[in-house]
């Protein structure tokens, strides 16, 4: 213990003056005071940690269990990669969805395309809030080529989207009211405007035209993403994707600028009717493929009725490989919880805590020292476990058929993967701190271990059986939110995805999730410090 250091050397300093005329001076120990700085406390706690074999074994068990369970989780996930249909060959095209109905003409150089979207209706059986109809300027008709699109969506108002990942919100659309849209190309910029009456225009956004050739294709498009149905009943889940289609009605269509028809061609006027080409871009996806190509265009006077299906946007990977290879932490945390609890309750059980508090009477500081030592040890062990799990798990996943292009390769050098791995170390350190706090608060080993483990494990186990809303709430506010730091699935607001927390799709950002856990640990530790001061040891 720290109190043992430096007490034995009795030097007679300060005793020379003796007792003067003032009578009995209060007794003072002649021993020099022992150093009781924070450093000594840290050293004392570290000595305790490293000298108890059972604790080191617990830490080792945590690492081994984490790695083994990760390996089982990664190795047991076979992936049939035989279905090479559907992909259109290039890797870029596989990572994005790019299929829609396109009515287009060439647009050379600067110019603009304008139309009034009078109606957007969904086909039978279609439930697609992100069904869209609007204007698009695209490099060509091959899927995956750059584009800028301005659209009216079924439930999300006017949107300006480009580069497959970017989405700028415009104004809301009231009911079935027609919306005027205009997309203007001017040099390197493409600007989208919206209007309710075709006279007063409001800018939605202006984006760079990078990647678009001087002569691009411009025109009208309609797309409707697949209808995704999630069916959950206790412990079982089925996700079904249904075909979908939407129909958009456009009038007052005008393409101005360097088109094929000259500097100014009013398509609505009926001049050069053959100039508009109607085409289905991209492969029909999902069940729709079996029913033949969806969509078509009817033209009556200046009114275009375009029916289409598909989507233009990012296609998130089918699984979170990083999450899958770090899953062992869900079981390994039990050992970290046990260590954290024991780090304080063992002292109460053996009466050691009285020695500890005699040596370091400031109890809050003792708790802090314990926390620092424990967190550092748990972080080191957790980080080691995470790195090994990740490397071994990625190898097992690749062997199990998780290969590009469906599953892009992940390496430890990638930002999100590195964050997840380091975050797993932090997560396990916070679990240990949370456990330390509960142990100090309850002073009852069994109850504290149970109370630490259950809040983490229960949402993960019961997740499949509870309603989606309840699960999301649990993963938002309970300590299990910390697992969010392992999630690397990108979120795109403009794509409806099936987001299940138990599969690593967390309702909040990675650091927010870890922050929630940190708040839990801090609150419990603060309560523990308060109780430590008020109650006899």
């Amino acid at each position: 213990m720290s109190a043992g250091t430096g007490t034995g050397t009795g030097t007679d300093t300060g005793t020379g003056t003796g007792t003067g005329a003032g009578g009995a001076a209060p007794y003072r120990s002649k021993l020099p005071p022992a150093r009781d700085g924070f450093w000594q406390l840290l050293r004392a706690e570290f000595t305790k940690l490293r000298s108890v074999d059972r604790w080191l074994l617990t830490l080792l068990a945590g690492v081994v269990v984490t790695v083994l369970v990760s390996l089982v989780s990664a190795g047991g996930s076979e992936m049939a990669t035989s279905d090479d249909g559907g992909g259109s060959g290039t890797e870029a095209a596989d990572r994005v969805a790019d299929s829609f109905r396109f009515v287009h003409r060439p647009l050379a150089g600067d110019g603009s395309v304008t139309a009034r979207v009078t109606d957007l209706t969904l086909g039978r059986g279609t439930d697609a809030p992100w069904a869209k109809a609007g204007l698009i300027v695209k490099a060509g008709t091959e899927p995956g080529s750059p584009y800028v699109a301005l659209m009216r969506t079924h439930e999300h108002g006017v949107r300006l989207q480009y580069g497959f990942e970017h989405d700028v919100a415009g104004g809301a659309v009231a009911g079935d009211a027609p919306v005027w849209l205009r997309l203007t190309r001017e040099g390197d910029r493409l600007t989208g405007y919206e209007s309710a009456d075709g006279e007063r225009w409001r800018e939605v956004g202006s984006v760079s035209a990078a990647g678009l050739p001087r002569t691009a294709r411009a025109g009208l498009f309609v797309a409707a993403p697949e209808t995704v149905r999630v069916e959950r009943s206790f412990g079982s889940l089925s996700i079904g994707a249904g075909p979908s289609e939407a129909t958009g009605v456009f009038d007052n269509v005008r393409l101005e600028g360097g088109g094929s028809g000259g500097s100014s061609s009013g398509a609505g006027g009926g001049s050069g009717a053959g100039a508009w080409q109607d085409e289905a871009v991209g492969p029909p996806s999902g069940p729709a493929a079996a029913n033949g190509p969806v969509g078509g265009t009817e033209r009556a006077g200046g009114t275009f009725t375009v029916t289409g299906s598909g989507d233009i946007g990012p296609r998130p990977p089918a699984g979170d490989l990083t999450w899958m290879s770090l899953a062992g932490a869900q079981v390994g945390l039990i050992a970290f919880a046990a260590l954290g609890v024991l780090f304080i309750t063992a002292e109460y059980k053996r009466g050691m805590i009285r020695t500890t508090f005699t040596a370091g009477p400031r109890r809050g500081r003792v708790l802090v020292a314990k926390g620092v030592v424990l967190a550092a040890a748990a972080f080191a062990a957790g980080l080691a476990a995470a790195v090994v799990s990740f490397l071994v798990g990625q190898r097992a996943l690749r062997a199990g058929g998780h290969r590009p292009p469906q599953f892009p390769e992940v390496s430890l050098a990638d930002g999100p993967a590195l964050r997840a791995v380091v975050g797993t170390g932090l997560l396990l350190a916070l679990v240990a701190l949370f456990a330390l706090g509960l142990g100090a608060l309850l002073r009852h080993t069994a109850a504290a271990v149970t109370l630490v483990v259950v809040p983490f494990v229960l949402p993960l186990v019961l997740g499949g059986g509870l309603p989606l809303g309840a699960v999301e709430w649990l993963f938002r506010v309970t300590p299990v939110a910390g697992f969010g730091v392992q999630s690397t699935t990108p979120h795109y607001e403009q794509v409806e995805t099936v987001c299940l927390p138990e599969d690593g799709c967390m309702p909040q950002g990675p650091w927010t999730g870890l922050g929630v856990l940190a708040v839990w640990a801090a609150v419990v530790l603060a309560l523990a410090a308060w109780r430590l001061r008020r109650r006899d040891a």
Binding site: R54, T58, V65, V69, V72, S73, G76, S77, E78, M79, V230, E231, R232, S233, F234, S238, G319, M324, A327, Q330, V331, I334, A335, A337, A338, V341, L342, T345, K349, H444, T445, A446, A447, V449, T450, V453, V454, V457, L458, L460, V461, L462, G463, G464, G465, L466, P467, L468, G469, A470, E502
Partner: protein
């Protein structure tokens, strides 16, 4: 006691001299007496050849001692309360959270009974803590040496603890299950059919769940006897209980998932809760409980082996 094969002598007539110390070698030869001449219950242990009645009587004493130890520790009552309250409360919460939003178009086939019993997933953790403590607390404080001095038959200690802890868990777990079923029936949301408490599958689910908790207690008891350390035993027990559903949730290979659900102690044991589509389960309701019983038996055997072979 009658045959005295192992050289035990037949009890002779009680010696009437009070207060004189008999020769210590003669212990067991005569009816021992306490101070003041009261008869002291003689409990004799021999490897073989005792009458059934004496054996039962001894078992009764051992069980009573264990019950005294169990009921005089405050944490027992807190943990038993937690078992009942958590089982009922989480079950009620799960049922009231049911919604028809994600049901297939054909209608909901939700197993409402199973949902209202979902609280066992949490209640079993309290059972694990309680039952682990039965041995580990004694090892922690050294009481185990007193216990084994009083009842030197170590297997008898194990049996007595199992009986007492099992009975306590049966009562508390039964209360929790009953509460969960009653609350679940009262809280069934619109779109789901309420169940009849007397129906066969519901009774099976209810009794099966209470039995499940008892088997979990035995599992934890065995691990506690084997590991002798509270944190270790509780952590190991929670790991055994929760690892299989957690790992099953991570795997995507359906064959492995089914294997885990069939042989994992908690996943298999809780198959008994199913009342809908029991034919489609990876393992039948009672067979699943049998799998858990095998796990518990293995843990108890491990605990018994350690108890017999290792110094306390």
């Amino acid at each position: 006691m009658r045959d005295g094969r192992r050289g035990l002598r037949e009890p002779v007539e009680p010696v009437e001299s009070v207060g004189t110390a008999e020769e210590p070698e003669q212990a067991g030869a005569g009816e021992p007496r306490g101070r003041g001449g009261q008869r002291v219950r003689e409990v004799r242990y021999a490897a073989g050849g005792r009458s059934v009645r004496a054996g039962l009587r001894d078992a009764g004493y051992a069980a009573r001692a264990e019950w005294t130890k169990l009921r005089t520790v405050p944490s027992t009552w807190w943990l038993l309360l937690a078992v009942a309250a958590v089982t009922a409360a989480i079950g009620a919460g799960a049922v009231s959270g049911l919604s028809t939003a994600h049901c297939p178009p054909a209608g909901c086939r939700e197993d409402v009974v199973k949902t209202s019993l979902a609280g066992v997933w949490a209640g079993q953790a309290a059972v694990a803590a309680l039952a682990s403590l039965a041995f580990t607390a004694e090892y922690g404080t050294g009481t185990i040496r007193t216990t084994l001095t009083a009842v030197p038959g170590r297997l008898r200690v194990l049996a007595a603890k199992s009986a007492v802890v099992g009975a306590a868990v049966l009562v508390a777990g039964g209360a929790g299950v009953l509460g969960a079923l009653l609350a679940g029936r009262a809280l069934v949301p619109a779109g789901f059919t309420a169940y009849d408490l007397g129906a066969g599958p519901v009774l099976r689910a209810g009794f099966g769940t209470a039995l499940y908790l008892v088997l979990v207690a035995l599992l934890a008891l065995g691990l506690g006897a084997a590991l002798r350390d509270t944190a270790g035993a509780v952590a190991a027990c929670l790991g055994v209980l929760y690892a299989s559903p957690l790992v099953a949730g991570m795997l995507s290979d359906p064959e492995w998932v089914e294997r885990l659900q069939r042989y994992g102690p908690s996943s298999a044991g809780l198959a008994v809760q199913s009342t809908v589509d029991t034919a489609a389960l990876p393992i039948g309701p009672w067979a699943g409980l049998g799998v858990l019983a095998a796990w518990s038996a293995a843990a108890l055997a491990l605990g018994a082996a350690v108890l017999r072979r290792r110094d306390a």
